[in-house]
Symmetry: C2
Subunit: 197 residues, 2 copies
DNA sequence: TTGACAAGTGACCTTTCGTTCACTATAATA
DNA sequence: TATTATAGTGAACGAAAGGTCACTTGTCAA
């Protein structure tokens, strides 16, 4: 029953850091949100910074587990419609899962202060998605679904606009539905341009 | 000679807020960076929050002055090469001008906390650029330089990848030159796709 | 049953924060 | 010249921050 608290602290930290940033978060509030008193937290982590580092460790490990290796690459869609389906499925998870949202916000807020956050932010927001869709597009070109072109460039052109709208959802959650529709429209437009008829 | 300090405080605030965020900035350091003592700042602003609000006022006014009206729309390029030139010129300013960089960073750091920062961030990072290039692309389609297509969708597809690389420059300045090259490559690829030969 | 240990408490410490205020120096105004 | 407003100083204040510590409680192994 004990070690559970250690993880609950990290969950609370993710929530508070994502809302108020590292500097804007204090241990009193964090503890209170768990029904403990300040000093209780220090039984599990030796400092605020230790909590931060443990949270980052967890985020980095989570990313490695879920997106790190080639095992986790999505299946290559076997139709143009399937690319849009795959995209919308990923987008729907990413803009509705509270934990993923909070992770993005934390990386956004701390990317200039912490080197590991900086690095993870770049992977999370840019290179990870590009790499994943480079694989997807390479496969689709092989299947003759996509015009022959530089798959890396296409992946970059495909993922960054989607990423921009995901950031919009984080910033203005009330625009989420609208953003999702725009992503779908963009996906179809992309296929109208690069898809093989 | 007096009122000058008021503006110097804002400049210092922009610098510190962009590095450490609002919560991570303290008045002592801010004053010291101007060669004053803490209480001197309070002769010009009644609180830390007042400094923040004045800075946002300035940022909003600056944005309105420089990008707000139709007067400031760029000229429609009269060749495909001219679009790339226009793009690179804008990009070079935006990733090398310290004040613009700091403005973006502040908006990035405070977008979840302050409603006006939230709003300006969306305009700055997304809608402003899209609107501007919607105009550019509409004009280029009229001139027969660009394939007839939805100019808003093209503007969105063109500006958001560039924006993603600008954010990368803010996060990892040592990658700036590389990012600039990628933007140019992207611009040419975009024209290879949508340009009329 | 006892001992040991992990988890949590509450009082306390030090530092730093934002802010105030009585005061000084300076430069413009009447 | 006398006055007054402005810019800046330095000491002080209360609140809030991160962190420590002696102590209690509950659980499990010996």
């Amino acid at each position: 029953m004990a070690n559970d608290t250690k993880e609950r602290i990290l969950a609370a930290a993710l929530e508070m850091f994502s809302q108020n940033g590292y500097a804007g978060t204090n241990i009193r509030e964090l503890s209170a949100s768990l029904g403990l008193v300040k000093s209780g937290v220090y039984k599990h982590y030796e400092s605020k910074e230790a909590i931060w580092n443990a949270l980052l460790d967890q985020m980095i490990a989570y990313y490695a587990d879920h997106f790190g290796s080639a095992d986790h690459l999505p299946p290559v869609p076997d139709s143009q419609e399937a690319l849009t389906r795959l995209t919308m499925q990923m987008v729907n998870i990413t803009v509705h899962d509270e934990k993923i949202i909070m992770t993005r916000k934390v990386l956004t807020l701390e990317q200039f202060r912490d080197d590991r956050a900086r690095e993870l932010a770049t992977r999370h927001f840019l290179t990870g998605l590009t790499d994943m869709f480079t694989h997807v597009f390479t496969g689709m070109m092989d299947k003759g679904l996509l015009r022959k072109d530089d798959p890396k460039m296409l992946a970059f052109s495909y993922t960054t606009p989607i990423s921009a709208l995901i950031h919009l959802c984080d910033r203005e959650p009330e625009k989420t539905e609208d953003a999702i529709r725009k992503i779908e429209a963009f996906s179809r437009h992309f296929l109208a341009t690069y898809g093989v008829k």
